[in-house]
Point group: none
Chain length 203, copies 4
C-alpha cells in the first residue's frame, strides 16, 4: 500500500527543512565555500537529495535567505505596529533587532556570508534589496518622527540610519565569530540606543 498523499507531503516538508537548517549552519561556518556535499552530510541525507527539493544550489540558498527575510519582516512588523510614540517604537524595533542578533547570530551570519558572492541571482538580489529598502524606509521614517518629537538626537537622519545599519551588521558578524569559542560581551540594546536617543533627564 503506497503512502498516503498527506504522509508524503509531511515527509517532504520535514526533509526540506532539515536540509535548509543544515544549509544555514554550513553557510554560517564556511561562507561561500559551503558545498552541497557538506550540507547533505550534515542533514544526514544523500548527496543527490537536495536536488529533489531545490533545483540548484543557488535555489537552495535563495530559499534559505528568503526564510530569513521573512522572519525579520515579521518581527519588524510587529515592533512597528504595536503603538506608542515614534521614539518608543524606534526603541522597540532596535532592541528587537539587537536581541535577534544576540540570540541567533548564526542565522545572520549565514545571511551575510552568502551575500559575499557577488554572483547572486538577479531575482534574489532584488528581493534582498527590496527588503532592505523596506526596513530602511521604516527606520528612516521613525528617526525623522523621533527627531520631530525631540526623542531622537539631531543630525542628518541618513547618517544616523547608516550608523544603525552598520552596527546591526557588525553585531551579526561579531556575535557569530565569537559564539563558537569565547564568551563575547554582546552589548545590550541600550548601549546602541544611546547613539540615537536623547538623554531623558529625570528631575
Amino acid at each position: 500500500m503506497p503512502r498516503t498523499e498527506a504522509a508524503n507531503e509531511q515527509i517532504r516538508r520535514e526533509t526540506a527543512s532539515r536540509i535548509l537548517a543544515s544549509a544555514r549552519a554550513v553557510y554560517a561556518r564556511k561562507g561561500g565555500a559551503a558545498t552541497v556535499a557538506e550540507i547533505a552530510k550534515e542533514a544526514g541525507v544523500s548527496q543527490g537529495l537536495p536536488y529533489r527539493y531545490f533545483r540548484t544550489k543557488q535555489e537552495l540558498f535563495r530559499s534559505l535567505i528568503q526564510g530569513i527575510l521573512h522572519d525579520q519582516s515579521e518581527s519588524t512588523g510587529w515592533a512597528q505596529s504595536s503603538g506608542g510614540s515614534p521614539g518608543e517604537r524606534f526603541e522597540r524595533m532596535v532592541t528587537n533587532m539587537v536581541e535577534l542578533r544576540r540570540m541567533s547570530p548564526e542565522l545572520f551570519q549565514a545571511f551575510h556570508q552568502g551575500l559575499d558572492r557577488r554572483t547572486l541571482p538577479a531575482k534574489l538580489r532584488q528581493d534582498i534589496i527590496q527588503h532592505g529598502q523596506r526596513v530602511r524606509l521604516t527606520l528612516r521614517h521613525l528617526i525623522e518622527e523621533g527627531q520631530a518629537t525631540g526623542e531622537i538626537v539631531e543630525g542628518n537622519p541618513d547618517q544616523l540610519l547608516v550608523a544603525l545599519l552598520a552596527i546591526l551588521e557588525g553585531l551579526s558578524r561579531i556575535g557569530w565569530a565569537h559564539s563558537a569559542s569565547e564568551e563575547v560581551a554582546f552589548p545590550e540594546a541600550k548601549i546602541v540606543l544611546r547613539m540615537f536617543l536623547r538623554e531623558r533627564r529625570t528631575p
Copy 2:
C-alpha cells in the same frame, strides 16, 4: 644587453603592487570567489604572472592582508601616541578609524571578505588575531581610563568595546556595498562617538 639590476627591481616592485592592487579590488568585489585569473586580468597581466610574485593564491592573499594590518597599525599607533586625556585619545582613535573606513571602504571590504573563508592559513590567522587583540586591548584600556576620568559613559567596558568593533566592521561593509552604486550617507565620527562620550554641557 640585459637590464640593470636596479631596473629589474623597479619593474618587479611595480608589477607586484599592480597585482596586489588588483587583488584588493577583486577580493572586495567577489570575496572568497575571487579567482587568480580575474585578478591577473584586472592587473593586465597573464594568468601565470602572479605566481612569479606570490607562491600561491593564499600567499597573495596573505600579503594583501598583512599590508592592511600594517597600515592600520601605523595609523592606530599615531592616534594613540599623540597625547591628551584618555577621552581625547579615544576620540582621536575612533575618528581615525571611522575616517579610514570612509576613505577606503574597499580596503576593509577586501579584508573582511577574505576572512570569511574558514580555511585561513594558520600563520595568517595568528597574525590577524594578534593584531585584533592589540587593537582591542588598546581600546579597552582607553575606555576604562575614560570612564575613570568621567569622559566616557558608564557601563560594561567589554560591551562598549564590542559595540565599537561592531560598528567599525559594519561601516567597512556598508561603505563598500554602496560606494559603487549609490551615494551613501556615511556617518560622521561624532555620531559614533555619541555612543561612548558623555554629554559635555557648555554652561
Copy 3:
C-alpha cells in the same frame, strides 16, 4: 530505490581496479609523464572519477606501487619458505623473480618508471626502501649460506647481490621495452643463475 550496500561495494571494487589497471598501463607507457586524464580515459571513466577513489594522483600511484610490493612479497615469501638447501632456495627465488618479469614486464615497468621521480612521498619511499631491504637481506643471506655449502660461487657477496639486482631490474625494463613491438628473447632463468651457481659436475 537505492542500490543495495553490497551492490555498491561491488561497483566500487570493480571501478577501483579498473582505474588501477589503467594507471599501471599508462605509467608503464609514459613514466612520470602519465596524466590523470589519460588514465581516466584508458579506464573509460571521467576525469574526475579517480579522485573519488584516490585522494590525489600520488595516492593513486602509491596504491599502485603497494599492490606490486605486496604481490612480490607473497611470491618471494613462498619461494623462501618452501625448504631445500640454500642453493636450491636461491635457485627457486631467482627463477621465480625472472619468471615474474617475463610474465608481467609491464607491471615492473610501471614500478620503475614511477620511481624515477625523485619527488616520491616520504611514506611511499619508506615502504619501498623497506621492501627492497627485506628482499636484499634475504638474498644476501642465501648467497652467504650457499657459499658456505659450496653451491654458490665465491666472491664478494655484496657484489654478487648487486649483480643479481641489476639483472632483475634490467630484465623488467627490457622485457617491457620490446614486448610491445618485437618478440624478445627473454633469457631463461638458468642463464642468469650461471652467474651464481657452481658448475655441478655430473660424473
Copy 4:
C-alpha cells in the same frame, strides 16, 4: 671593439657544454621531471640562454643523448678493433661497458631517465634504436663466434645477448641510485662475465 669571431666561437662552445653538463646532472637527478629552469640555474646561466643554444628542450635533450651515444660508440669500437680471439674481444668489450657504468653512472642514468618519456622525437628515437642495434649486432656476433671457439657458454645467443643488455642497463641504474647516499658494492666485470665465459681450468 667587438670580440673577435674566434673568441665568440670559443665562448659559445664553452657555454653550450656547461649547459649540457648541467642538463645531464639534472636529468640524472629528476628524470622526466627535469625543468629548463633548473638546468639553467645549475649551469649558472639565465633561464633564457639555453634557447640560444638549443631550439627547444627536446633539442637540448637530443643533444645530450647523442653525446652519450657517441662516447659509447667510440669506446665500443676501440674494444672491438683491438684484436684477439672472439672471447677476448667479448671480454674486453663487456669489461669496458661495466667499467663505464661504474665510473659514470650519472651519464647512463641521464640516458635512461630521459628515455622514459615515450614522447621522444622520432629522429632521436631512430638514432637510439640504430645505435642499440649496432651494439647488439656486434655483441651478438661476438657471442656466436665465441661459442664457435668454445670460449663462450652454449645456449640461445639471443637470450645471452638480452641477459647481457639487461645487466648493463640494471648496472646503470643501480650505480646511480646508490652513488649519492651509500657506497654500493659495484660488481666487478668478471662476475658478469661468468654468465658468459666457460670455466677455464688451469691445470
